[in-house]
């Protein structure tokens, strides 16, 4: 039986501001098993990024529990890697592609040879082994995001968290990158938590789709995606089941935006 990798319970985050307190996240709870690819969608401003930051240990929640591999998350845990949306500001322009991918590995207890192997392997996996010596700003947006993904992959995390990573990338590149994520999941068994605002993307990628409500955010629905694990941009998206699922998610989000969904009272 697959073990629970990530456990989020009754997560709540309240921001203090000059005009009053803002409850960004009301009550979020879900579980993620090892080897799963879970997508999170929700209406704009529903606190997706806040949720990710709490899970990643970058923000302290007001209340609630985040556990990774059974251990409580209070600071960025060593077995988690993040891919940000703003790849231009997440990659370091003074380091080459190789330098960027290598950086997080430096403080892990690895020999030079092992480190090099991980870096080369990760860059090959994202299709960038020809660009090792280039600087990030010499590459296109899609390639830069691949570098960010390679950096996360080389780090060998137990869970990979991606915060709307393809939002700033053109549609053609986005399709390629989505397939890359699925390939990483399939070939390496990586557990991936993928936040997006793109409904089609969430259904195409995920094994589960978690739909968030409007602020104060809670889990409106946890939907299992029963599409075949072998997915393809053209055929999968043409399946009737795909259309059903995406319509369902779309409707859920519309309900979330209108605030119609009712939060079930906590047991």
């Amino acid at each position: 039986m697959p073990e629970t990798l990530l456990n989020v319970e009754r997560l709540r985050k309240v921001y203090e501001s000059s005009t009053g307190n803002v409850e960004a996240i009301g009550d979020i709870g879900f579980r993620m098993d090892a080897g799963e690819l879970v997508c999170i969608v929700g209406p704009s401003g529903c606190g997706k990024t806040t949720l990710l930051k709490c899970i990643a240990g970058l923000l302290k929640p007001t209340s609630g529990v985040v556990e990774l591999g059974g251990r409580r998350v209070t600071a960025p845990p060593p077995n988690m890697a993040l891919v940000f949306q703003e790849y231009g500001r997440s990659l370091y322009p003074w380091l080459t592609v190789r330098g960027n991918v290598e950086l997080p590995l430096k403080h892990k207890k690895l020999t030079r040879a092992e480190r090099d192997r991980l870096v080369d392997d990760a860059l090959a996996a994202v299709g960038l082994d020809h660009a090792k010596g280039s600087y990030p700003w010499q590459l296109s947006g899609g390639m830069q995001q691949r570098v960010a993904i390679a950096r996360a992959v080389a780090y060998q995390p137990e869970v990979l968290i991606m915060d709307e990573p393809f939002a700033a990338v053109d549609a053609q590149t986005r399709a390629d990158l989505e397939d890359l994520v699925r390939a990483l999941h399939r070939d390496r068994g990586m557990s991936i938590l993928f936040v997006t605002h793109d409904i089609d993307e969430s259904v195409y990628l995920g094994e589960r789709v978690i739909v968030l409500s409007k602020s104060p955010t809670w889990v409106q629905e946890d939907l299992a995606i029963d599409l075949a694990p072998e997915r393809d941009q053209i055929t999968t998206r043409a399946l009737p089941r795909f259309t059903e699922l995406r319509t369902h998610v779309y409707e859920q989000i519309q309900r979330a935006k209108r605030g119609e969904a009712v939060r079930p009272e906590a047991a």
């Binding site: 307190n21 960004a24 009712v262």
Partner: protein
């Protein structure tokens, strides 16, 4: 329990009822710390000579210096010196700016001139203008003109370089648009080049103003034309160290004021311009 708002305002906790927002508190703290720092500095200044760590004959206490400063400000001669320094500063700045704007615009607009003058500019620019002090003294003795040579030479480059950048920064699309509408050369200069170059000119002016003040005081100190700098040297020769330090403080304050005023001027002119200027050397 559906809510209609986009964000829920939780019922006000006691903290949110306080009159000061976190941001206001932060600014207050910043000001308080800054003042504390200045006080700390003054305290250290006071203690060093009092405790004998530094020779009190040559390093008077803060209180003594500030007292002397108060006395100076009641002395007419002090204000005359301030006037002389600021006059030298002003005249030098104006001459430098006019020369630099004219030359910079002409050279900047003609690519041939730009290329032809490049090496000359890059050789003359790094020459420290204080190296010309002996020459200036030979030519004009202790008069204002000697100081002006030094002031103008250094300030000129600040404005000149900025104007060159500014004239070159004219947006290519805007220029092509102007040409395609058949605007005359003169009209293009007035309507396109001038507004583009103006913020650069203001930046150059700010840098030149700071440089001009430094050199005005320096010239008075080492050439000997009347002004604050010369007053400092006279006080030093007479062993009146409280006066020396008081005047040093005055020059610092003048520097702050000049910098502040020109920063405001620069920001006003940059208000509509999005790009960022590059700072240039002294």
């Amino acid at each position: 329990m559906a809510t209609a708002d986009a964000s829920t305002i939780v019922a006000a906790s006691p903290r949110s009822r306080s009159p000061r927002s976190p941001r206001q508190l932060r600014t207050l703290r910043k000001i308080a710390l800054g003042l504390a720092g200045i006080l700390g500095f003054l305290l250290t200044w006071q203690l060093l000579p009092t405790l004998g760590i530094v020779d009190p004959r040559y390093f008077p206490t803060a209180t003594a210096t500030l007292a002397q400063l108060g006395q100076e400000m009641r002395d007419l001669e002090f204000w005359r010196n301030v006037g002389r320094t600021m006059t030298a500063w002003g005249i030098g700045l104006v001459i430098a700016t006019v020369l630099a704007t004219v030359l910079g615009t002409v050279i900047g607009l003609v690519p041939f001139l730009r290329r032809a003058t490049h090496t000359t500019v890059e050789f003359l620019r790094p020459i420290p203008s204080v190296a010309l002090i002996p020459l200036a003294v030979l030519m004009y003795g202790y008069q204002l003109q000697a100081a002006l040579i030094i002031i103008v030479f250094a300030s000129f480059w600040q404005v000149f370089i900025q104007v060159l950048y500014g004239v070159a920064d004219v947006d290519a699309v805007a220029r092509d648009t102007a040409r395609s509408f058949g605007l005359s050369r003169g009209s293009r200069i007035v309507n396109l080049v001038f507004p583009t170059a103006l913020p650069y000119l203001m930046t150059g002016l700010r840098l030149a103003a700071a440089v001009a003040l430094i050199l005005a005081v320096t010239a008075e100190m080492f050439i000997g034309n009347p002004g604050l700098g010369r007053a400092i040297m006279l006080a030093q020769n007479a062993g009146q160290w409280t006066t020396v330090y008081a005047l040093v403080v005055v020059t610092g304050l003048l520097g702050l004021i000049v910098n502040l005023v020109f920063r405001v001027i620069e920001r006003r002119s940059l208000a509509w311009h999005q790009s960022v200027r590059g700072e240039e050397v002294l």
